[in-house]
Symmetry: C2
Subunit: 190 residues, 2 copies
DNA sequence: GCGAATAGTGGACTGCAGTCTAATGATCAA
DNA sequence: TTGATCATTAGACTGCAGTCCACTATTCGC
C-alpha cells in the first residue's frame, strides 16, 4: 500500500502547507466571503492551478485547514468512568462552543457552501458532522448503560435534537455559551 | 398613513407578480443555484434593474415568492382545545415537513444565502424562522398550562431543540417524514 | 541521457450576481 | 403645459470562483 511510488514530479508539500496556513489566517482575519482565492494564492506564493490540483473548491481547502486545528477541541470525551455522562456531555458541548467562538463564522460559511455543492457536502458531513454526532450518540448510549438515562429514550433522536440545537443557534447567530450547554443537558436528562 | 400618494411613476405591479411567479417556478423546476437572474428577468419580460428596484438580491425575491405559497402550510395550530398539545405539535411538524418536500431544497439554498448576507439574514429570520419558533414555544407553554408537560421544563430550550432537529435534518439532507415528527414529539414529552 | 508521467506557472477565459448609466416613460401638482 | 419625481429599459461594467491552456520543471525507469 505505501510502496506505491508514483511516477512524475512529486507534489510540493510546502505549497499545500502554505495554502492551508494562509487560508486559515485570512479567513479568521477577514471572514470567509471576504477572502478571494486570488488573495490566498498570492500570499502563499503559488499558482492558481496548484490550489485546484489539491482541493476542488475554496471550501475544501478551508475545511481541511480548520479541521487540522480542530481536533484539539473536538477530542473524544474521556471514558475514565470517574465522571457521570451528564458532566461529560456538558464539558463536550462547552468545548465545542469554545471552538465555535474562534471558527464559528468560518463554520457557518462552510455549512452554507455545503448546501451549494453536493461533493463538498459529502466531505463536510463525513469529516465534520458525523463524527461529532456519533460521539454524542455513544455518550448517550453509555449514559443508558450506566442508568443515568432512562432506557426508554431514543438515543439517536436525542442526539439529533442536541446536535440540531447548536447548529440552529450557530446559523441563527445566537449565543453559544456554557449556559446554553447546561440548558441543553438539563433538558436532555430531564 | 394610506393617503400618502407618492409622486413619480408608479411601480408596475404586474412586473413584481411576474417576477415572483417565474422565480418560484424556475427554482422549483431547476433548483435555486441553477436559476440565473438573467433567466428570471427574461422569462418575466422585465429589465434587470426592475428586479433590483424591489429586492436587494435573488434570495430576497425567492424568499418572498416562497413565503406567499407557504402560509398555507405553516398555519397556526388550531386552539380549539379539543386535542391535546402533543397531537397538535405532531400535526404542526408533519405539515411543515410536507411543505419541505416541495420547497425544502429552496429553503436550504435560502438558509445558505442567509449566511452570506447579513441584511438577508435578518429578513429571513424575521419572516420565516422566528414565527415558527414562536408557534412551537407558544404550543409548549400551553402544554404546560394544561398539565401535559412538566412545569419544570425549559420551554425556550425545548423549542430550540425541536426547531434545531429539523433544521439539522434539512441541512444534512436527511429524512423528514411523519415518523421523524413522531419521534421528536415522543422525546419532547418523554 | 531519454522519454513518460505528473506538478507548477502565468494568464486567458466563462458564467454568475449585483452595480451603474443614460435615455425614456408615467404620474402628479401647479 | 411644464417641471419634479420616480420607474423602466438595455446594456455596459466589476469582482469573483472555477476552468482551460501552453509551457516549464522535477522525478522516475530504463
Amino acid at each position: 500500500m505505501s510502496g506505491k511510488r508514483p511516477s512524475g514530479r512529486p507534489a510540493n508539500q510546502d505549497a499545500s502547507a502554505a495554502l492551508k496556513t494562509v487560508a486559515l489566517r485570512l479567513v479568521r482575519e477577514l471572514g470567509y466571503d471576504k477572502v478571494s482565492v486570488s488573495a490566498i494564492i498570492e500570499q502563499a506564493g503559488v499558482a492558481r492551478q496548484t490550489l485546484y490540483n489539491r482541493w476542488n473548491t475554496k471550501a475544501d481547502l478551508v475545511l481541511e485547514a480548520v479541521f487540522e486545528q480542530t481536533n484539539t477541541y473536538a477530542a473524544e470525551p474521556s471514558w475514565d468512568g470517574a465522571e457521570d455522562c451528564r458532566t461529560l456531555l456538558e464539558d463536550f458541548l462547552i468545548r465545542i462552543f469554545e471552538h465555535l467562538r474562534i471558527d464559528g463564522d468560518t463554520l457557518r460559511a462552510l455549512i452554507a457552501a455545503s448546501q451549494q455543492d453536493a461533493k463538498f457536502h459529502r466531505s463536510f458531513h463525513a469529516n465534520f458532522v458525523l463524527p461529532r454526532e456519533q460521539m454524542i450518540t455513544a455518550l448517550l448510549h453509555r449514559a443508558q448503560d450506566r442508568g443515568e438515562l432512562s432506557p426508554g429514550r431514543n438515543v439517536e433522536v436525542l442526539s439529533t435534537l442536541i446536535h440540531g440545537a447548536f447548529w440552529y443557534r450557530l446559523l441563527s447567530r445566537g449565543v453559544l455559551d456554557a449556559g446554553f450547554a447546561k440548558e441543553i443537558v438539563a433538558e436532555t436528562f430531564a
